[in-house]
Assembly symmetry: C2
Homo-oligomer: 591 residues x 2
């Protein structure tokens, strides 16, 4: 069975040494002293390791089942979900007005990493509820908030997002689900939705579906779409769970992974629902939650990689195979452990340097969301720009990292016994859902890059420029971090220039390079994170009695990223500069 | 259910326009006129599309099962295997002395691509038999060949390779299976082998295991290893199948993919076996088959990608989502097909340009094996050098291509219904078995590169240099093909120089860059293949009444590879040049 150990020390490093959350001047953040956050992370980590992780393989093997219209989750899920609720983990960063603990989102994300790493399929039940909670809290009326939120914060009721239909996912303008207004102000919802994660299950008393549908008079395309609250069970006057609504599970999807999560076909047959937010402005309501939801998926990408990496390390230290080329390392044994071999070490360093950089980016993103919730417009612009980068890059690279971790096991990685196949199969979905990564690249190039005449992009470059100026003369940072960051950042600027010059007249020129641009940006973002971590590490090493090995290892891991990963920006730029010609040259019939 | 269409035209192009097999002066090749090979490929393609492909999804879903010691393959496999046998496909490139048809290996590989693409798990039963056939044919005594080969050529009996044990796969020196010599010259084999593909099943009357084991007096490590023929059923005097040997299936592995192939734990409990080849020289006997076996796995990598690509194309043409940024392409429909979008086109071009380049490399490799069988030492050296490149690069990139094809389907790629998940899960094993790709990289850098003082590598460079000289002034080829090939080849030479300068004194410096070197080499090899295909296409376009669209598309697809894939060599070289420092800097405890 795969192991999982909570990376509390690394999370603490990012929270305090790098982001300095306690000093950020945000409401509630001043209470985030290292002792407090360590206690929170330790407790969450214990739940992740002791309760969630042991159910990961078994949940994958058992999967969910649909019997007589009722969905059952794998054995042990109910007890584990109860433990999540009782520990208050579902309420951590929720509004105290509805029973939440009111902690910053950045702490919620840090605990979320551990839960997702330990058991991604299981953690989705809570994750989707949090998304629905955010939507209702942002767009709901006071009455709606009072009605739905308290029991969603506690996860007595869970939530879903119902967007996709059989013929459309990305292009929601095509959707067919209808909402018929009733005299009492409610609507009757009719249509079929597919790929509904946590669509139904036995973990909660009620499931609160948020459903995109078309109400009369909204016009064609996405303009006519509204968002509705459609509960599985209608509520009685006293808000207790009442009669069943006309919503049912058509079937469960058979998937490549996340078997522990029930992916449902949902049938709405005149189900009663209530408008959430403004009529015909459902897409806007959806989009306000996107940054948070997409950052949550970005997190899954590197969290899965972290869990897979930990197991690859354990195997590489344990498995004896061959001898070190530089001399026998384990004379007492019949062979040396795998970890002595440079190519294994290269693989582990690829994984480790990615994961730690990704963690910093995700937590920085969460902190930017905390800032933006506090009215910081620059933070809001930045996170809006960085969200598709984090979602696309961290899930693409997170998947690659799970494949590398699996490879360390050789043939033992391909059989299901060690759980490495599951990490790969689970991580794969993060590249697809919450907007497939090609859509993230489109969002980045066509929407986020030009928004506000490129001010967010310029703010990002200004930040890197200021950083390089501040630390360019520091001999401990200059060659290993500042120089490569500057060089990679120049590649990113050159790509932006190319898009500006060519994209206006020939939009295909920009869109042909969109995925390369997202990855180029991702590398620069992780390079920036590593440079910031390096500054934090050198400062910490100057303190009295530092945890010397920890901080030196950060510098060495960061240097690896700068030297061996960051040079990818050159290739991405070269590809982007070829424009649309090579990409679009073939006639459709030639494929 | 996924579709599969045999790429006969593309195979014919490589065989005749590029490799000019008929003019190669090899025995038997002069009969390979285009009409003949087309007939062979058409017939094989029909079997692949009509019989094998329809069993791919069902075989994956059903898997193999072990009941009372008997292994059953999925429904339809027996009939399909019968069809393979009856069509003579198992005997195609086998020795006529044992019932084979004596066709060149290059044709065997071309048909093999189609079989593997249509149903990889199924085709492995024949593939492993072919490997065992080759081993016995090369190392067996006349009596052994007469005894075993005829029914293996016909696949009435199938074969296996028994190498891996629970505690060792790569490091076979550690293996524990013992061979006790008997007075009659036979041996009794005792031990446990794992991961034995096609180890047992219901498709043949007998299973001929080739088993690596240690016989007394051989010394420690790999030196003491011998290879034995151990049949499932012993033979009677008249060579008919007799009593059961003491070999049994312990269990079937649950795997990520290739569910239709029975991956067995094999228990040898004093099973009777006969020495194959020289005593204590089993490793050498294994290695003589390696080039062929590894090229067969390389083929699986791009064959899986081809099948996945075909389905991605069909989906991209069919699925309506969004509108082309350059203007509506499908005014009659509610949206445009996916294929209008540049990022989808980029993904399809990545897949297509890789697959066609990979096909050329694999067929060239097979042709080099045909040459080496005919005593061509340069060809033997070249294929020995190229084998780890083809195996590692085509399976790594082939897997990536299946992931890209799956991504085109969005959420529909993640559910099992469309078969895209299976292509990814099946392709994954090719990176692992027949020597994990890290081992291929090690073999390349530590063994193949320096062998004969680097003469094979020099021969490869000389070939590229001559090519560039010959075609550098051709205006239709220079900028698009020759210039980028020359540049990429220089990167490869620079990497070789780095290894030569540093690798002797610090072997870790070379081994830390081994995987990057393999990929750098792979890109140059595919770039060379594309340049050769471009030459063939321009020559064909000069003929009267050429198939103009076909050849122009070759040039455009090749140009894509040169412009958008080949620039990866820059990044690989940059990584290699960092040497071992960043890779080996962390203490083992820091992981």
């Amino acid at each position: 069975m795969p192991i999982y150990t909570a990376p509390t020390r690394d999370l603490q490093f990012v929270l305090h040494d790098v982001l300095e959350v306690q000093q950020s001047g945000l409401p509630g953040h001043d209470e985030m002293d290292p002792g407090f956050t360590e206690a929170v992370l330790d407790a969450a980590g214990k739940l992740a390791s002791d309760v969630l992780a042991p159910l990961n393989s078994s949940g994958d093997a058992e999967g969910c089942r649909l019997e007589n219209g009722v969905v059952y989750t794998p054995g042990g899920y109910k007890q584990a979900f109860e433990a999540m609720r009782e520990g208050g983990w579902t309420a951590l960063d929720c509004d105290p007005d509805y029973g939440g603990q009111g902690l910053p989102y950045v702490i919620g994300l840090a605990t979320g990493e551990m839960f997702a790493a330990a058991n991604m399929a299981f953690t989705m039940y809570q994750g989707l509820t949090h998304g629905a909670y955010s939507a209702i809290r942002t767009h709901g009326t006071d009455a709606q908030k009072q009605t739905w939120l308290p029991r969603m914060v506690s996860c007595e009721w869970t939530g879903t997002m119902n967007l996709t239909e059989p013929h459309c996912g990305t292009d929601l303008g095509l959707l067919r689900t209808r909402a018929e207004p009733q005299e009492d102000g409610s609507y009757l919802i009719t249509g079929q939705k597919i790929f509904i994660s946590a669509g139904d299950h036995d973990l909660s008393q009620n499931v609160i579906h948020l459903v995109l549908a078309k109400a009369p008079g909204g016009g064609e395309g996405t303009k006519g779409i509204s968002l509705f609250i459609v509960p599985k069970f209608l509520l009685n006057e006293d808000r207790s769970v009442g009669e069943r609504n006309a919503v049912s599970v058509g079937s469960l999807e058979e998937k490549m992974g996340i078997h522990g999560n029930a992916t449902c076909v949902m049938n709405f047959d005149g189900a009663r629902g209530w408008l959430l937010g403004d009529l015909h402005k459902g897409m806007r309501a959806m989009f306000t939650m996107m940054n948070e939801a997409r950052l949550g998926v970005a997190l899954q990408g590197y969290a899965c990689a972290e869990a897979a990496y930990q197991n690859a390390v354990a195997y590489a230290k344990d498995r004896l195979q061959g001898r070190a080329v530089t001399g026998i390392a384990n004379p007492a044994g019949p062979a040396d452990p795998l970890i002595v071999h440079p190519d294994i070490r290269r693989s582990l360093m690829d994984q480790k340097s990615f994961i730690e950089g990704a963690r910093a980016l995700a937590l920085w993103g969460a902190h930017l969301i905390d800032r933006s919730h506090n009215g910081d417009a620059e933070a809001e612009g930045l996170i809006s720009l960085l969200t598709p980068v984090a979602k696309g890059f961290l899930t693409d690279k997170g998947f690659d990292a799970t494949v590398q971790a699996q490879q360390v096991f050789g043939g033992h990685g391909y059989i299901e016994e060690h759980g490495m196949s599951q990490f790969v199969r689970d991580a794969r979905i993060a590249m697809i859902y919450e907007g497939a990564n090609g859509i993230q690249a489109l969002d980045l190039v066509a929407r986020k890059l030009p928004q506000g005449s490129g001010k967010d992009m310029m703010a990002f470059f200004a930040m890197i420029k200021a950083f390089c100026k501040e630390h360019g003369d520091n001999p401990r940072l200059a060659n290993d971090f500042v120089v490569p960051l500057k060089s990679a950042s120049k590649d990113l600027q050159a790509a932006v220039m190319f898009f500006m010059e060519r994209g206006m007249s020939r939009p295909d020129d920009a869109l042909s390079g969109s995925t390369d641009f997202l990855h180029l940006f991702g590398h620069v973002a992780l390079g920036f994170m590593w440079a910031r971590m390096a500054v934090a590490a050198t400062l910490a090493l100057d303190e009295e009695n530092p945890d010397e090995a920890f901080y030196r290892n950060k510098l060495l891991t960061g240097r690896y990223y700068m030297q061996r990963q960051l040079p990818m920006t050159v290739t991405h730029l070269a590809r982007i500069r070829t424009g649309a010609d090579p990409v679009m040259a073939l006639h459709v019939d030639a494929f």
